[in-house]
Symmetry: none
DNA sequence: AGGTAAACGAGACGGTACGTCGCGTCTTTCA
DNA sequence: TGAAAGACGCGACGTACCGTCTCGTTTACCT
């Protein structure tokens, strides 16, 4: 009788397990190279050499340089993962702060440079923008329910305007991107969709 | 039979009859390949072979594949060049219509994926977004002057919200992009920045 | 001094004994692959997978693919091992018959393709050619002693001529290799070294 | 009208011609590495690096390491090419002298270790052995015609015995290979096939 | 019966070399 | 004299095997 019959838990697959040391050395090397030379110059050969690892070891975990780059950028986001903000302003400021870093710009760049049909693109789009948009939608819907926002407001458009403004400034850099944008955009948008305060008769 | 038999007169100087033909053959090949395989797979070798042209001939006119791609996308924009719109709605609808094509999406993609410091980037940014934004700014400023819009409105934020919403949908494709977005965004934004209609005392 | 010196019987080393099933599965897989793809394409990975065996199990018994190939070719030669022929013709015919098979050609190929200084080479050389040559030398020396062959005959040359002819045809394939070659070569060689039949005075 | 109409000679194809400097640098590097590490360790990567050449440049001229090795061994044989010997002894001694060098042994080894169906094999076989065998056949046939050799002698067997003895010693190295072998083998063989000197009745 | 130790399957590891692709530059020949 | 053709040095690609190394499991022996 094998132990397995009694253990509910995950049964490790046969064979030598993946070396966590190698795995993290690769990610570390990739992250450093992203900082130093950017995603376009991130080559598997260089990462392998820098991590002291054979190329096949990299390919065993990632299919190409882009996937590796994505992993290197995303993985360390073991950060608390934004505990779901309560207000739109907090949400927007948080997103701005997370994007307006070197890594944030890299994420946006990866998003932009990946094939628009690929998994990579979707993963990034979700992680960078759409998840926050989802949270924002929930907040807005609550405000609709509470009567603070007009029922016929085009919430999708509102959200895209706010998140779009952030992305636009991040990508184009034609205007500074900081928390004040969140405040301005929110003010404009909320004024645009709040319930009319009718004048007292 | 050579052409020369018919052109008696005007003896052309030795050897450059091909120039315009090659040039446009290259652009044509590049455009086709952009359609077929996307900008990432647009290689100089392939374009040269497809255009029946030597690689150096390409390099004589463009420094690398990205510049060629830009040229291939932009050049045929011999379209009337948007004769300066009078209202924001016309402006936005026009931009949406121009971007919401395969070529438009490609332009946005090239913009997003090019190095943010390069000439290419600036050229695209200007051509795709900033010029329209400039026109929009003029219109908004006129409305401020006319008193329709509050004097303290953050016009830059408003413009980025409207153009950002368009770019976001174009790049992410999570919501449909059409003229109705212009209408909604404009409605929200204008309501957000219009002068308060104070109630009569 | 180990106990083994005193115990007559075979003392099995502690632990799980080598699995005969695996051992022969490996050899079988190796033999099949030799047939199918030849010695150059015989890879340890493929043999392991085909035999349903881990690579270390192979390396526990053979140091590399060549040794495995040698073993795979030689092992099944549990054939009676040529009970030492009595005449040169029987010897030669036997060698021709043993070489002139797929396995024989593979043996010659292995011989040829192994490093000329390695153990493998010597093992093959011995097994394929030199052992038979040794037997032939004994026979010829007996004939010298009996007076049938001239005492000053260069026996080494004679043997190399006969065996060399066989090898040449085996490797080059420019002429058919069969028992008739043994007959012809022997006839020529023996006539070349037999004692002159002087004419009676 | 171009010169080509009048010149029968080879018309050089358009484009940059193959660089003779690179070509010979590659062959030189390959030859040196063959001397130093043998054919098994002759890798394209190493040859490319040593010759100061890109790998594709090598692959443009040779399909793999074996072909390159063959070329490296054969090419410099711009030697006078053995002006067809008149006697068997001269022929054999010449072959022994040409084979009994490092390069000769390498040629024989390449011959023996190449796939017996490939072009490579045939080219080597011809160059190394069969051409000489052809010449030998002509000489023997002349001797048959002159009556010095018995008409029913198996000439093919005789030739294979002589050339085989040489190849055998070259490959196996179990006996020294020098001109004396030619003498011994020839003596044995000729005695074996000469016309019987019948005793006077 | 229980312990112990070798051999097992599986498979990931650091490497080396493979043969290909695309770059951007160069050299030639032709028109 | 400009342009086609195409070879060049370079460097990264992704794959195939190498021979080694853990793993957890199995199988026999020796207490």
């Amino acid at each position: 009788m094998s132990k397995a019959e009694f253990t509910q838990e995950f049964r490790r697959p046969a064979g030598r397990p993946k070396s966590m040391a190698s795995h993290s050395a690769i990610l570390k090397a990739a992250r450093e190279m992203l900082e130093e030379v950017g995603p376009a110059r991130l080559t598997i050969d260089a990462v392998a050499k820098r991590a002291g690892v054979g190329k096949p070891t990299i390919y065993r975990s990632w299919a190409n340089a882009q996937e590796l780059a994505m992993a290197a950028i995303i993985e360390p986001s073991s950060q608390p993962e934004a505990p779901k903000a309560k207000t739109l302003e907090v949400l927007l400021v948080d997103i701005i702060e997370r994007l307006n870093t070197k890594r944030g710009r890299q994420m946006a760049l990866m998003l932009a440079s990946s094939e628009p049909d690929g998994e990579l693109f979707k993963a990034f789009a979700n992680r960078v923008v759409l998840r926050g948009r989802q949270d924002g939608l929930a907040i807005l819907e609550a405000q609709v329910a509470s009567g603070a926002v007009r029922a016929d407001a085009n919430l999708a458009a509102v959200l895209d305007m706010m998140f779009g403004a952030i992305m636009l400034r991040l990508l184009l850099g034609h205007e500074t991107l900081d928390a004040s944008l969140a405040k301005s955009a929110l003010e404009i948008a909320m004024r645009g969709i709040q319930k009319d305060e009718t004048c007292p008769a």
